[in-house]
């Protein structure tokens, strides 16, 4: 499926914000066999004093911008055309959770794609005994790693309410879990925490979700802003699978990836808020429209 994606993020500061620097992860990735970026463009206003491009540890594309003078507002406009392949059917040949742990011991790598990065604590996902106890109960009968991923994501979707007003970008995951509400970021962090606690390496994917569903399908939650979902490592045979706990589905033709990491810390779309004495306001809008023809 071919999509045109538009992302707008604006910051308005109450008063001038001192010279600052941002690290942006906003542009979709080309991932062989999954998605291909045909064209992409990122506008930054006002025009930055410096701008550079780099890849981070996990291979995500980063744009660095900096200002040498104070600004009142900043705006980022990302436009891209992306070709997203449909999801190949996944056959569950994943090992049991015990066997998965044994397989992991044979992976002698800390390269970016190694599941070893995704097993323990990460900046935004501390271990939680509450989530771990819940996850153990959910997966006690899981015959395989893939089943554990589905079970946890499905159970979360059933128990948690999607509520954009309930949490903020820095709400601790245990708090959101206790209240059983939140947005895609909370769903994703809790699912990752639960999966790691039962031994499944799990990470965070940021990206976009198709705004207007195909005829006959329901509108998906989280399409108005940048979206987040889970990637989990289910053994040597099938490797990484992506699951969207907010919408209780495998991430597929409706999902376009921007960045991957251990949690939100690794993929935050805009890092480095400007220094300002006053408050700031943020707005974000996303459009991901299927291009016919």
């Amino acid at each position: 499926m071919l999509y045109d994606i538009t992302l707008r993020i604006e910051y308005a500061y109450d008063g001038m914000a001192a010279a600052g620097r941002h690290l942006l992860r906003l542009t979709p990735a080309t991932i062989p066999g999954q998605q291909r970026v045909i064209a992409a463009n990122l506008d930054v206003a006002p025009a930055p004093f410096e701008r550079n491009f780099s890849h981070d540890f996990f291979g995500n594309r980063c744009v660095g911008v900096s200002y040498d003078e104070a600004v009142e507002e900043t705006a980022f406009l990302m436009q891209a055309r992306v070709d997203r392949a449909p999801l190949d059917p996944v056959f569950d040949v994943s090992p049991s959770l015990d066997r998965l742990t044994e397989e992991l011991e044979t992976i002698l790598s800390v390269a970016a794609d190694s599941p070893q990065h995704f097993r323990g604590r990460s900046p935004r996902i501390p271990p939680s005994s509450e989530v771990a106890a819940w996850a153990r109960t959910q997966t006690s009968a899981s015959p395989s790693a893939l089943d554990a991923v589905r079970t946890i994501c499905t159970a979360l979707h059933a128990e948690m309410a999607f509520d954009p007003e309930a949490t903020a970008v820095d709400t601790p995951l245990e708090e959101a879990f206790r209240a059983r509400h939140g947005v895609c970021q909370d769903f994703t962090h809790i699912a990752i925490c639960a999966l790691r606690s039962v031994g499944v390496p799990a990470g965070y994917v940021s990206g976009f979700l198709r705004t207007i569903p195909p005829k006959g399908s329901a509108r998906l939650e989280g399409a108005d802003a940048m979206h987040a979902w889970v990637r989990a490592w289910c053994g040597m045979e099938i490797g990484w699978v992506e699951f969207d706990p907010t919408n209780n589905m495998m991430a597929g033709e409706d999902h376009v990836t921007v960045a991957v990491g251990r949690d939100y810390f690794d993929v935050a779309p805009v890092k480095g808020a400007l220094r300002t004495a006053g408050s700031q306001e943020t707005s974000q809008s996303v459009d991901m429209v299927a291009v016919s023809g």
Binding site: N52, F57, L108, V110, A111, G120, K271, G272
Partner: protein, 800 residues
């Protein structure tokens, strides 16, 4: 070699050792395994025993006095509160024979090489993981393995430049490594101060003659830092988290000792991927940073986003190879306790040789076999956080010692299984004991050493000394400084006399002076405000003294002049009902805070004078009564503020920083005097106002000599505003500011004069040309406004 025996039979050290009890199964520093006093201690003990009780008291007092005079302290944290505490000196040095020291040094240099090679692998090819030497999970879960630094090569080829090791002597008499300090090791400056203090105590002793000196170590490391610059004009900076850090004193001390620039994160900026420092002459390049800040705080953009101590873009500048970080960001990865389990094997693989000094036996509980071993040997294990960077005897909240948790309950083996990768077991250590001086007698206390290793052109150099941590009771192995342990100097004693060595004799160093135009803007700002606050305090004290002297004379405050004066004080924030010292104490604390930020830039004596001023005022605040008593107290305080001013004026080098301090003082005096004159020379002012003005202006004698007639508005204005020979007149302040400003850097666009200088010159010209009667109240208002604008103009010009 029968001398030791003879010595024990008829000890030359009297009864010094009669209370010295060695512990069974524990090695001792004073006695060897045969129970003889080690030869290295014998001359020292003889010298010590030769001191009578008074002489010993004096010797110890000299050491303590030195630390107080030098202002050595460290910050201690307890229950969310932080206090400054005296450096806990254990006066007795710890003596080690030079041959034994050489073995320690050789072993630690080898360990430094292993760590360097490990670092290069962790941030490079990761061969240790690929070959199964190091578990992938252990590295991946180490919070100090900084992914943004993976693949970033250090500019000069090395990741590590300055390390510290904590070592202890085991029951078998061999030395063991207890901890590797690779992130930003502290203590080298304290070691130096501890040496100075201990030398003061025992300077007269002959046994002191063959102690190896420390200065050469620092000189060589400074040379290393300087050699990594981009050129003669680029800078080396020491990056500190700031005055609230527990070892800030040391940062400012080292900066002063080595003559390097001390900066905080906000002083630095990244432009076009290059690291710059904000100075009074604009952005200047920095090519070497010795950080005293843990890596995660250095860059809020790519590391800890909550950090307010760092510099956004610093990681990018490193990736770009534009400066050298000492040590490389990410070096904290080597401090994790669990890594010690793999050090012996890493040494074999990386260096092809076994570790010359073993580290304390460690098992990472992420491996099944290791976990089972730990569970089977609980009684001789300490189990704690695998990623802990604390010393083995410094426990976390979940520690398990000998199979028991802190609350005394036995540990559940399932808990170890469930949390395996998060845990490491270490064999319980019993450290050797060393002598501490308690009530004139020596007692045995557990001891560990901190040894410093630095890179120099020819390889590693080891500081011949360092410091020893001494426990505060014989039984407890807890020798952490934060919990009441003490610190003693380490004397490496050779059998030949070493040359006296100080940092000053750098041999062949050029006497070329460099222009001091790289004063960081925040340092300039702090010096400026320090000058202002001290002067403000001084002026307020004069006003208060005048008030209380009058209260004492009249016995009450209801006559007009006292009312005017009280109102004036209220306009400065000092209400009549407030305790009389509150207003000045607030300013003194502001002065101390500013001074605390720039301790590397002015003398210890001046700092002590400020501390003394504040302490005395605090003491007065508790007991001084209004009226005559207060008036005399204020006279005492005025002598102390003059003392500070004198130290600054007589002893401080005429650096750019000194000029900012001077400008601050003169600006405050201009502003204060101008406002004061507006009220007290007003036609409506009550009787006695002009005399009071002359008194507050410290010009009573001069006035009497210069003007035969009594005080008039003209004579007061003339003397306090226009007379360039009166050091307290406003014109004199403007002349001083103008003079200081002429030494400050000027940017290209403002070749002739900065806006600040222009305003000063305008004011100066007006006052120089005016006759007293031309200074109308309106004119005073205008001048007062001009005076108030000076701070903003200065900041716009130099402090951006």
């Amino acid at each position: 070699m029968s001398e030791p025996h003879q010595a024990d039979d008829r000890p030359a050290w009297g009864n010094l050792l009669e209370a010295y009890r060695r512990l069974p199964g524990v090695a001792d520093e004073l006695y060897d395994s045969e129970g003889r006093v080690r030869p290295v201690w014998q001359p020292f003990l003889r010298d010590l025993a030769a001191l009578d009780a008074d002489e010993l008291d004096h010797a110890l007092a000299r050491g303590s006095q030195y630390l107080r005079d030098a202002g050595v302290f460290f910050r201690q944290y307890a229950a969310g509160d932080s206090t400054e505490r005296d450096w806990p000196l254990s006066h007795l040095p710890m003596l080690i024979e030079a041959g034994e020291w050489q073995n320690i040094a050789t072993a630690l240099m080898q360990r430094a090489d292993v760590l360097e090679a490990a670092m290069a692998d962790f941030y490079g090819p990761n061969q240790l993981v690929a070959d199964g030497v190091l578990p992938a999970r252990l590295l991946a879960s180490n919070p100090e393995w900084l992914r943004p630094m993976v693949g970033v090569q250090p500019r000069h080829g090395h990741y590590l430049h300055f390390l510290a090791f904590d070592i202890g002597r085991g029951p078998d008499g061999k030395w063991w490594v207890l901890g590797d300090r690779t992130q930003a090791p502290s203590g080298a400056g304290f070691a130096l101060e501890t040496r100075m203090a201990t030398s003061r105590s025992f300077s007269s002793m002959t046994s002191n003659a063959n102690v190896m000196r420390l200065a050469g170590f620092f000189r060589r490391f400074r040379d290393t830092l300087l050699s990594m610059r981009d050129g003669e004009t680029s800078r080396v900076a020491i990056l500190t988290p700031g005055p609230l850090n527990d070892t800030y004193f040391e940062h400012s001390y080292i900066a002063r000792y080595l003559g390097l620039m001390l900066v905080q994160g906000a002083d630095l900026a990244v432009r076009e991927n290059r690291l710059m420092v904000r100075t009074v002459s604009g952005l200047q390049p920095v090519s070497v940073v010795w950080r005293r800040l843990d890596a995660e705080w250095t860059d809020p953009l790519e590391l800890n986003e909550g950090s307010q101590l760092g510099t956004p873009g610093m990681v990018g500048a490193l990736r770009n190879g534009s400066f050298t970080m000492v040590n490389a960001l990410g070096s904290g990865v080597l401090e994790a306790r669990a890594l010690m389990a793999f050090m012996p094997r890493m040494s074999e693989v990386l260096m092809g040789q076994p570790l010359a000094m073993p580290n304390i036996a460690t098992w990472w509980c992420g491996g099944t076999a290791e976990r089972d071993f730990v569970k089977a040997n609980l009684e001789r294990m300490t189990i704690d956080n695998a990623m802990s960077t604390r010393l083995p005897f410094d426990h976390g909240p979940n520690v398990v010692i000998g199979g028991r948790k802190l609350d005394g309950s036995p540990v559940d083996p399932d808990w170890i299984d469930r949390n395996g990768p998060l845990l490491a077991g270490q064999e319980v250590v019993s450290l050797s004991t060393a002598p501490a001086l308690v009530d004139g007698k020596l007692e045995a206390r557990p001891m560990s050493l901190r040894v410093f290793v630095a890179r120099s052109g020819g390889g590693w150099v080891v500081m011949p000394g360092g410091f020893a941590r001494i426990g505060n009771s014989a039984e407890s192995a807890d020798i952490s400084m934060q919990r009441g342990g003490a610190v003693s100097d380490v004397w490496v004693v050779s059998d030949k006399t070493g040359p006296v060595d100080t940092l000053l004799e750098t041999g062949g160093g050029s006497a070329k002076r460099t222009h001091d135009m790289s004063l960081p803007s925040t340092a300039a700002d702090n010096l400026f405000w320090l000058g202002r606050y001290v002067e403000r305090t001084d002026f307020k004290i004069r006003l208060l003294r005048a008030l209380h002297a009058r209260l004492a004379e009249t016995g009450g405050g209801d006559y007009p002049l006292a009312v005017t004066l009280s109102d004036y004080l209220a306009s400065l924030g000092m209400e009549t009902d407030d305790p009389i010292f509150d207003g000045i104490l607030e300013d003194m604390r502001c002065a101390l805070r500013s001074a605390g930020q720039v301790r590397d830039r002015f003398s210890t004596d001046a700092w002590n004078a400020l501390v003394d001023l504040t302490r005395t005022t605090e003491m007065f605040a508790e007991r001084v009564l209004p009226g005559d008593d207060a008036s005399r107290a204020f006279s005492v305080l005025l002598r102390k503020t003059s003392g500070f001013a004198g130290l600054v004026h007589e002893n401080m080098y005429r650096s750019t920083g000194w000029r900012f301090l001077g400008i601050g003082r003169a600006v405050e005096r201009t502003w204060g005097m101008m406002n004061f004159l507006r009220v007290f020379t007003d036609v409506e002012a009550p009787d006695g106002s002009l005399d009071l003005a002359i008194e507050v202006g410290d010009s009573v004698m001069t006035h009497r000599r210069r003007y035969a007639a009594g005080t008039s508005r003209d004579t007061a204005v003339d003397l306090l505003l226009l007379d360039d020979m009166n050091p307290r007149s406003v014109l004199n302040q403007l002349i001083a500011i103008d003079d200081h400003a002429s030494f400050l850097p000027v940017s290209v666009e403002e070749v002739r004069m900065t806006p600040f200088q222009r305003r000063v010159l305008e004011m100066k010209t007006v006052l120089a040309a005016a006759a007293p009667r031309e200074i109308t109240p309106e004119r005073l208002d205008d001048l007062s406004e001009d005076a108030a604008s000076l701070t903003g103009l200065l900041a716009d010009t130099y402090l951006q």
